[in-house]
């Protein structure tokens, strides 16, 4: 699942400016902060993947060999998003309050599958009077399709040594 199949074409994707990717990432964070889950899902190209390995996993962690927290193909990600909007998603009902900060945005390279973009994040989640902090780095493969940046893959690495005390990743970090 590491080789993103979605949107692949023969030509190497031409990187946009860092500012373009920063705008994209800030906007993505805002969609999640505001719980606009369907719009967030629409950022993903069909066939895209979304993965969150266990806390402290290396960047080359492989969901075919290692136990992750989340390893969604496009179909399961669609259900994760649908779940985010349901009252029967008890962990997020009532919705937790969340805010995300994105930093250290870098364009890391490009190939046929898209442009690799990395950033760091701090996500705060507050629920039931408990504040949880998630920090780490995202690794994206992004493609420009019809003038819009779209996600081919998003992998979220939690730079934590365990998920204590956060306990769960029932939000999109």
């Amino acid at each position: 699942m590491n080789a993103p199949a979605a949107g692949a074409s023969a030509a190497i994707e031409k990187p946009l400016s860092r500012a373009d990717y920063e705008d994209f990432l800030y906007n993505e964070a805002a969609l999640l902060d505001e719980w606009r889950m369907d719009e967030w899902f629409a950022l993903f190209l069909e066939g895209a993947i979304y993965e969150v390995p266990c806390a402290g996993a290396p960047d080359n962690a492989d969901s075919s060999e290692d136990l992750f927290y989340i390893s969604d193909n496009y179909f399961r990600l669609g259900h994760r998003v649908a779940r985010m909007n349901k009252e029967s998603h008890h962990s997020e009902f009532p919705h937790s309050s969340v805010t995300r900060m994105i930093g250290n945005v870098r364009v890391l390279g490009a190939d046929q599958s898209g442009v690799s973009v990395g950033c760091t994040f701090v996500t705060h989640r507050s629920k039931n009077d408990v504040l949880s902090v998630y920090c780490g780095h995202h690794r994206y493969v992004l493609r420009a399709v019809e003038g819009r940046i779209r996600i081919v893959s998003k992998r979220t690495f939690l730079d934590l040594n365990s998920l204590r005390p956060q306990g769960r990743v029932s939000i999109i970090v």
Binding site: S64, L67, F68, Y69, S71, R83, S91, L163
Partner: protein, 428 residues
């Protein structure tokens, strides 16, 4: 229920369960989940005396392999020495107490404390060169400078347990009929089983006994996990109903299991159409190998049925859409640390390993479609117990008068509570 709160002598433990088999009523006092004194007593009478899960043999597959792990609130080293013999030591320097190994796993012929440099062979023996006069000539003749060994270490079918009580009964006797479930899980593969990749280490702001109940609770699934079943019915392309036919096993010693058929696919070995025809051939091969090894009847039970098992006090082995091993320990009455692993068949193909892990993650773990909602339910219950003075009891009576229990009954939890109560109330 008057009388249960009557004043007791300080050495007596007020009964916290109400077990009326004639009326079919079983209740647990909510103070059992919030009281500091209960936790102190649990540490003494349960965690310091019962067999506790340490790890799986695959985690220390080779000579000199080690893992470090907190078990029953104590830091341990579980390792193999140069000859491959397994050991369990307290991970604390006999000199001044620091951890002698701070990595989660590795391969080491010796351990060295970084504080003052004391070193030990991986069989625990003190191995530090000292200058004459530093210590008496016969220093360590009593073993005071060796790593302290855990009182008892024993394994069953690859599952290793420790016991801190030198007088404890053997693991074999302790596991009682739970051995039959471990046999089933260990028989999934022809070359044995292994832990797959990372440990999920998380925490829950709730009493540890709530996770025992929840892990073997067939009653909550439809309500708590509605979103998972929404997903599953689309993933498998049909209704995702749990079978009405199910079993409850009292495995004695406080161990219990529920068993039944479920709509999800099982890596060993229940194919679902969503996996495709290529996977069907592979599942058929797995099933055929299983039948040739354990016989048709047992193979059918292993492959078709799933089972949630609680081994007293704090080990869960759920062999459902995937296999998870889960253990947990209370830091406070209202806070537990949880460690969970995926268990897989040694030598299974990459494609099947991926399917197993997908099955796991769809339901289980901190990012699954189910576990976070369990956490929310447990934490919601814990918050509710603040009103224990006014709303004093949990009801665990479901199906108590039934001739034959089903998994949506609560008999499996009553098995746990009766043993818990026996150990907590015994005059000792």
């Amino acid at each position: 229920m008057q009388g249960l709160h009557a004043s007791e002598s300080p050495t007596r433990f007020a009964p916290m369960i109400l077990d009326d088999r004639d009326k079919g009523i079983f209740r647990v006092a909510r103070t059992a989940f919030i009281d500091e004194d209960v936790l102190l007593r649990e540490r003494d009478r349960i965690f310091n005396r019962c067999w506790l899960y340490l790890g799986h043999e695959s985690e220390i597959a080779e000579p000199n392999d080690f893992i470090t792990r907190n078990v029953g609130g104590k830091e341990l080293i579980f390792n193999r020495d140069r000859k491959g013999e397994p050991h369990a030591f307290f991970n604390t320097c006999p000199h001044r107490g620091a951890l002698v190994e701070r990595r989660p796993k590795g391969n080491a012929i010796s351990f060295k404390c970084f504080y003052h440099g004391w070193a030990f062979n991986n069989n625990g023996a003190f191995a530090t060169r000292m200058s004459p006069g530093d210590y008496p000539e016969d220093f360590n003749s009593d073993g005071c400078a060796n790593l302290t060994r855990v009182a008892k270490l024993q394994g069953y079918r690859g599952f290793y347990f420790v016991n801190f009580d030198p007088g404890a009964m053997s693991l074999d006797d302790y596991l009682a009929d739970a051995k039959g479930i471990l046999d089933i899980v260990a028989d999934h593969g022809p070359r044995g089983m292994e832990i797959v990749g990372s440990e999920q280490k998380y925490s829950i702001r709730a009493n540890w006994k709530l996770l025992v109940e929840n892990s073997i609770d067939g009653y909550h699934a439809v309500d708590t996990h509605a979103t998972y079943f929404d997903y599953l019915s689309e993933a498998i392309g049909g209704p995702a109903a749990l079978s009405k036919r199910s079993f409850v096993w009292n495995l004695s010693g406080g161990h219990s299991s529920i068993e039944g058929e479920a709509p999800w696919g099982r890596p060993v070995a229940r194919w679902i159409p969503a996996w495709g025809e290529a996977a069907k051939a592979e599942v058929d091969d797995i099933r055929a190998e299983l039948e040739s090894r354990v016989g048709a009847e047992r193979a059918d039970r292993i492959a078709r049925m799933g089972r949630n098992t609680a081994i007293f006090p704090n080990l869960i082995i759920n062999d459902i859409m995937a296999i998870t091993i889960r253990t947990f320990y209370p830091l406070e009455p209202n806070l537990m640390n949880v460690s969970a692993w995926a268990l897989g068949v040694k030598g299974e193909s990459r494609g099947f390993r991926k399917r197993r892990l997908d099955n796991f993650l769809e339901f289980l773990g901190p990012g699954g479609f189910a576990t976070p909602d369990d956490l929310e339910a447990l934490e919601a219950a814990q918050r509710g117990y603040a009103a224990h003075r006014e709303a004093a009891w949990n009801d665990i009576s479901r199906g108590m008068k039934r001739e034959r229990f089903v998994s949506t009954d609560e008999e499996q939890m009553r098995c746990f509570w009766r043993e818990w109560s026996r150990r907590m109330e015994d005059a000792q």
